[in-house]
C-alpha cells in the first residue's frame, strides 16, 4: 500500500563538505562555506551594519542562524568573516560538532526556501533529506547524528518540525521558518555522485563504479559494487587542494628567501581563472604553473596507488569496476591526470578511457555540486518508493547561488 503521507514531501539533497556545504532542491543549488562563527554583540553588529558598504545584501552572504542550544546568533558561511571564533563543520573528514553541523543543515534549508520565495514559490514546508556524511564518520557516528537531529526537532502531535530563525545581518531582517521533516537518510558523501551517474549517465543500469571525490581538505574513495558502497575500501584521506596550494605557498616562501608568505587562499582564488602568476613583494612575479602541475601529479599518484591497491582487493572478490568517476572541487585540476593513469594501468586506448573514466561535467554539473544533486535524487527515489511509483531520474540545474561576493561595488 502506498504511503500517501509522502505525497507532499519535497526531496532535498545536502552535504557538509570540508570547505563548502551544498544543498540541492530540484534544479536549484545553494552553496556556502562550511564554517560557523559566533555572532557579534548587538551594539557591534549595529555598527557593522552602518559601516557595511557592500551592495550584496543576499541572505546567503549575510546569514545568521539562531542557535537555541546556546541561545545566541551564529554567523554562517561568508558572514563568519566577522566572527572572532569560527568552527569548520568537518575536519579531516570528521564532523567536528553536531550542534554546528545542525546549524549547517538549518542554513541550507533556509537558503533553499528563501530562493524559492524569491522565485515566487511557496517556502519549504515538508522535506525528505538525503544527506552525505564524511566517509570516516562511519555508521556509529551516523546513528548518533541521527539521534542528535531527532532531539533538536519539535513535536506537534505525531509530527516533527524543524524551526529555523534566521537573520540577514546586512539588512537586520529576521525570518522564521517551520519545516516538517518526513525523513533523513544518511549516506557516504561520494555516494551522491554515484546516484547522479546512475540516473543520468547509466540509464538506471547498475554499473560498478569507483568514485574519487577530491575536495579542499580531503579526498575520498568510495567503490560502489552492485549498488552498495564498499565500506571496507572507502576512506577519507586528509589531503586535497589545500595541500596543493599550501605547498605552493611554502615553495614561494622558500624561493623568496623566507621573506614573504603568500596566503594559500590567494593561490586558490587564481585557479578557477587559470591564472598562475602571483606577485611576491621584493622578488617580482612568480609563475607557479609548473609547481602546481607537479603538486597535482603527486596528489594524483597518491590517489592512483590507493585505487590500484583497492582494485586488487575488488578483483580477488571476483568483481570488476565498470566506471571510474572523479568529482569534487579538485577534479578540475586532477581529472585529466587521473584518466591518463587509469588508461595506462589498463593499457586502454584514448576512446575506452574517455568512455570509462568519467566526471560530473558529462552530466552538465560542476564537479563540486554533483553529490548534492545525487542525494536529492536519492531522497526523490525514497519518496517514490514510499508512494510505490517509478522514480523520475531527470534533473537540470538551472540556478546556483553561493555566498561569494556579488555586485561588488564601493
Amino acid at each position: 500500500m502506498p504511503d500517501l503521507s509522502y505525497k507532499d514531501v519535497t526531496p532535498i539533497g545536502g552535504e557538509l563538505g570540508t570547505s563548502m556545504s551544498k544543498f540541492c532542491e530540484d534544479g536549484r543549488i545553494i552553496a556556502f562555506s562550511s564554517v560557523v562563527g559566533d555572532g557579534l554583540s548587538d551594539s557591534l553588529e549595529a555598527n557593522w551594519q552602518k559601516m557595511n558598504r557592500s551592495t550584496d545584501h543576499r541572505w546567503i552572504r549575510n546569514l545568521a542562524i539562531y542557535d537555541d542550544s546556546k541561545n545566541m546568533w551564529r554567523y554562517v558561511g561568508a558572514m563568519s568573516r566577522n566572527s572572532n571564533q569560527i568552527n569548520w563543520f568537518t575536519h579531516k573528514g570528521v564532523i567536528q560538532n553536531y550542534a554546528d553541523a545542525f546549524i549547517g543543515i538549518q542554513a541550507g534549508l533556509f537558503c533553499l526556501s528563501q530562493e524559492r520565495e524569491e522565485n515566487e514559490k511557496e517556502p519549504l514546508k515538508k522535506v525528505g533529506l538525503g544527506f552525505g556524511i564524511p566517509v570516516k564518520a562511519g555508521e556509529v557516528v551516523a546513528e548518533t547524528f541521527f539521534n542528535y537531529i531527532k532531539s533538536r526537532l519539535k513535536a506537534e502531535g505525531n509530527e516533527k518540525y524543524l524551526y529555523i530563525k534566521a537573520k540577514n545581518v546586512a539588512t537586520g531582517e529576521i525570518k522564521e521558518l517551520k519545516i516538517q521533516f518526513a525523513f533523513i537518510l544518511l549516506q557516504f558523501q561520494a555516494y551522491g555522485a554515484y546516484m547522479s551517474f546512475l540516473m543520468k549517465k547509466f540509464g538506471m543500469r547498475l554499473y560498478n563504479t569507483y568514485v574519487v571525490d577530491v575536495g579542499h581538505g580531503t579526498w575520498i574513495k568510495l567503490p560502489v559494487i552492485e549498488n552498495e558502497a564498499d565500506i571496507n575500501l572507502s576512506d577519507s584521506v586528509p589531503e586535497g587542494i589545500f595541500t596543493v596550494t599550501s605547498n605552493i605557498s611554502q615553495i614561494i616562501f622558500e624561493s623568496s628567501g623566507q621573506r614573504y608568505k603568500i596566503p594559500e587562499q590567494r593561490i586558490m582564488e587564481k585557479l578557477p581563472r587559470n591564472e598562475y602568476k602571483v606577485e611576491v613583494p621584493g622578488s617580482g612575479i612568480f609563475d607557479f604553473k609548473n609547481i602546481l602541475d607537479n603538486e597535482c601529479s603527486n596528489l594524483c599518484e597518491h590517489i592512483i596507488q590507493a585505487v590500484k591497491s583497492d582494485l586488487v582487493s575488488i578483483n580477488r572478490k571476483g568483481k570488476t569496476i565498470d566506471y571510474f568517476a572523479m568529482v569534487g572541487g579538485g577534479a578540475s585540476l586532477i581529472f585529466d591526470k587521473f584518466k591518463e593513469k587509469i588508461r595506462a594501468h589498463y593499457n586502454w586506448s584514448e576512446e575506452i578511457a574517455r568512455d570509462r573514466v568519467i566526471s560530473a561535467i558529462e552530466l552538465g554539473i560542476d564537479h563540486r555540486y554533483v553529490n548534492s544533486v545525487g542525494f536529492m535524487l536519492l531522497a526523490r527515489d525514497q519518496i517514490a518508493l514510499e508512494l510505490e511509483k517509478e522514480v523520475n531520474p531527470d534533473f537540470e540545474i538551472t540556478n546556483i547561488s553561493t555566498d561569494d561576493l556579488e555586485n561588488f561595488r564601493i
Partner: protein, 210 residues
Amino acid sequence: MMKKQVKEAEEKIKVPLELLLDKETIAIIEAQCEEHKTGRDRFVAVVIRLFLDFSYIARTVGKDIFSFRDEMIKAIVRSRGAGAGDIIDKLSEADKQASKKEAVKAPADLSALKEKFSGIINEMSELKSAVLELKKSLTGAAGPVSSAAAQENDQARAAEKKKDRRPQAGEAAQESQTEIITIDELASEFKSSAPPSYKDKRKKLNKLKF
C-alpha cells in the same frame, strides 16, 4: 556457369590435402579431427564457416581479421582488470613458444589455456550478437518509422545481412558511415554486458522517519 563452378570445386576437393598444405598444417588438422572426433571435410567446413563469420564481424568494425582477433583478446582480458595480468602473460608466453617452435606444451597447460580460450570464445559469440544489436540500433537511430515500415526495413536489412555474410573475394567493404563501429566501442561494451536494472534492485533504505 554455376554447374561448371561446382564441377571445378568438386575436382579441387579431390586433390589430396598433402598437395595443398604444408606438413605442419596437416598435422594440426589431423590432431583437431582426432580431438573433435570428426572427419577432415567436416572440420574444414566448420573452420571456413567460422572464418567467414569472424571476417564479417572484423569487416563491420573496420579491421582485418587478425588485428581484430588480437585487439579483441586484449580488450576482453583488460576489461577484467589488473587480475587478468597473468592471463596476458600466459598468452604472450604461449605466443612466444609457438613462434620459436621450441617445445610442445604439456597437456595440463594446454587444457588450462583451452579453458581460458573457451571463455573468450563465449565472449566472442556474445560480441557477435552485440555487433548485430549495435548495428541494428544504429540503423534504427536514423529516425522514427511506423511499425509496419520498421518491420519491412528489418526484413530488408536481414536479407542484406544474409547477402553480406558470404562476401565475394575482392569485394570492397561498402558500409555506410553510420554503420561503422570502432573496435573501442565494442570493447567498451565489455565493461558489463548485461548490467542489472536499478528498477529491480531499488529498495527502501534505512531512513530516520519522524
